[in-house]
């Protein structure tokens, strides 16, 4: 599988990573190399093999739907690059 520049630009956009135009070409090469490497999986017969969902032989536990933690907004916000009045601040999204 070989990826072209346009596809890499599209994936980068989906992943919200800014990739400078001049780096798209080399990145396309590296990603194609990895995809070529993983293509050997097609040699494995996986007819009727279930995709693994959990490696541990246990079901996910259930718990009561109740509040067990919280009530410290200041601590939650303490690492925010920009905060105000108990909120995170982001660039304006609605005009």
């Amino acid at each position: 599988m070989s990826l072209d520049k346009a596809t890499v630009a599209k994936i980068a956009h989906l992943a919200r990573i800014k990739v400078p135009d001049e780096e798209l070409e080399s990145l396309a090469g590296e990603l194609s190399q990895i995809l070529t490497f993983v293509e050997q999986l097609n040699e494995v017969d996986t007819q009727d093999v279930p995709p693994m969902t959990s490696v541990a032989a246990q079901k996910l536990r259930r718990r009561k739907d109740e509040v067990t933690d919280g009530g410290y907004a200041a601590q939650v916000l303490s690492n925010g690059p920009e905060t105000a009045e108990g909120f995170y601040v982001v660039p304006k999204v609605v005009e």
Binding site: I34, N42, V44, P51, M52, N79, V90
Partner: protein
């Protein structure tokens, strides 16, 4: 008396109990050692003040007869574990300035049991790598590098991603360190530095408060200089945690009690597929030596087959990036870490993530995004998960005829910084013997077994049944005794 920094954990506990030295003295010696290893770029954050106050508290507990199972032992923490009030970076610029308001479960249990924190050590960015060369804070140099610090003949890698943890123990600047292992990140650096590392069964150690890479594969574990020390530290790190939905509710055994030295009658599986082409004569000979040691101790080697071994890396390099692309979506410049402004919210996200993530992390996020995207999900991600089931079935089948599996840890001795860096796939191949274990969720450990012709360490890997760390440790100690690995790096603190 042996220098305090050269003691094992077991010896240090003994000396503390007999009042031969105090936790403060032991910690002061290590704080000086931490300063001495600065040229190796092992620590991202040193915490000498915290270490000394923890040591003082430890001495007070011991005086009152309340010493815990690791009381007074100075250790280092991989900078992937969140530590309250102490910067936690994951080796990434994107976590610039982040100081967690909480403590990871594993580290809180270590402090509960009396361990002393010397600081946070280097890793590959977000634990994605095999050499500890991709962190924003720069590469870690192995104390095994020939030459004097600063004027090295060759700068050798410490392995990765827990390379700082491995290097700090090998350099005698900590008695132990925490590591994490997603595809070999504890075992491979342990092998590269002549130290012991255990990746426990998936679910044994809580993942809560550890910066996530690939959640279905990540597992924390101890890194130490001896198997006995690994048993001591593992006991403190394990245990059920309701805050991790995949934590397994099982009693934690006294792992040290499992070290009986008696492996008579035990069946040791030797997977024929690991003799794949390209295995160097040196590694093959070490492996044969390991088999001979276990046979002498009364174990019975049996040939086993793990037919899907050759596909493990390919499956891993779909599953791990897929999970990473999802886990790392949270770094968006809003709640913590770096923010790079943009004209609007989307540009801010893109600028922040473009500037904050290093090249290898970006590559893995992009691969993960691609294999999960519409139209490719079945062809890549589901196919990889099906192959993962096959790999797990291989091990289930193999463990019908053996009790533990012996393999080399890595296909070669450590390489120099700068080698293997142009081609990502070449770097991935280093983990060929360790990755299948993570895909199957099994416990495994690396034990130092000898030196290569280049004078650098080589490790042997043991793989156990799920939750049978005890057999693993018992056999590991037999290998350790037979190998009698006493070599020390050219530099020790």
């Amino acid at each position: 008396m042996t220098a305090l920094t050269h003691l094992t954990m077991a010896e240090a506990l003994d000396g503390l109990a007999k009042k031969e030295f105090t936790a403060v003295e032991l910690t002061e010696a290590h704080v000086r050692a931490v300063e001495a290893v600065r040229p190796f770029n092992i620590f991202i954050t040193e915490t000498p003040d915290a270490a000394l106050s923890m040591a003082k508290a430890s001495d007070e507990r011991r005086a009152k007869g309340e010493a815990g199972p690791m009381d007074g032992l100075p250790i280092a923490v991989k900078d992937l574990f969140c530590t309250k009030g102490v910067a936690t970076t994951a080796g990434s610029r994107i976590l610039d300035g982040f100081k967690p308001e909480y403590e990871s479960t594993v580290t809180s249990q270590l402090w509960r049991d009396g361990a002393v924190m010397l600081g946070k050590v280097n890793l590959d960015e977000f634990a994605m790598g095999s050499a500890t060369i991709t962190a924003h804070q720069g590469e870690t140099v192995s104390p095994w590098s020939p030459g004097a610090p600063g004027a090295w003949e060759r700068k050798i890698v410490a392995g990765g991603s827990s390379g700082g943890s491995a290097a700090v123990i090998a350099a005698r600047a900590a008695l132990g360190a925490t590591g994490t292992d997603t595809g070999g990140s504890i075992r491979q650096p342990a092998g590269y530095t002549g130290t012991v590392g255990i990746k426990p069964t998936y679910g044994r150690c809580s993942r809560w408060g550890i910066v996530a890479y690939a959640s279905s594969l990540d597992q924390a574990g101890p890194m130490t200089r001896t198997v006995e020390d690994a048993a001591i530290m593992l006991r403190s790190m394990c245990g059920f945690d309701p805050k991790d939905s995949t934590s397994v509710d099982m009693p934690v055994p006294d792992f040290r009690a499992a070290l009986t030295g008696d492996i008579r009658g035990l069946r040791v599986g030797i997977p024929k597929e690991y003799r794949a082409e390209g295995l160097s004569a040196e590694i093959a000979a070490l492996w044969d030596q390991g088999i001979a040691w276990l046979k002498e101790a009364g174990a019975e080697p049996v040939e086993i087959s793990l037919p899907h071994t050759k596909y493990a890396l390919a499956a891993y390099y779909i599953i791990a990036p897929a999970e990473a692309s999802s886990n790392l979506a949270r770094y968006d410049g809003v709640r913590y870490g770096l923010r790079v402004e943009g004209g609007n919210l989307k540009e801010m996200y893109e600028n922040t993530r473009g500037a904050g993530f290093g090249k290898e992390v970006q590559r893995r996020i992009l691969i993960g995004t691609y294999v999960l995207s519409a139209g490719y999900y079945d062809a890549y991600y589901n196919k990889a998960r099906q192959v993962r089931t096959r790999i797990k079935q291989d091990f289930d089948e193999a463990f019908k005829s053996c009790d533990v599996i012996l393999t080399p840890t890595a296909p070669s001795t450590p390489f120099a910084i700068g080698e293997k860096m142009d081609d990502p796939v070449q770097m991935y191949l280093i983990d060929v013997f360790t990755v299948p274990v993570n895909l199957a969720g099994l416990p495994a450990m690396s034990i130092p077994a000898g030196l290569g012709a280049d004078g650098l360490p080589l490790g042997l890997q043991l793989i156990g049944r799920p939750f049978d760390e005890e057999t693993l440790l018992r056999v590991g100690q037999v290998v350790e005794k037979a190998a009698d690995f006493t070599a020390v790096p050219p530099f020790v603190a």
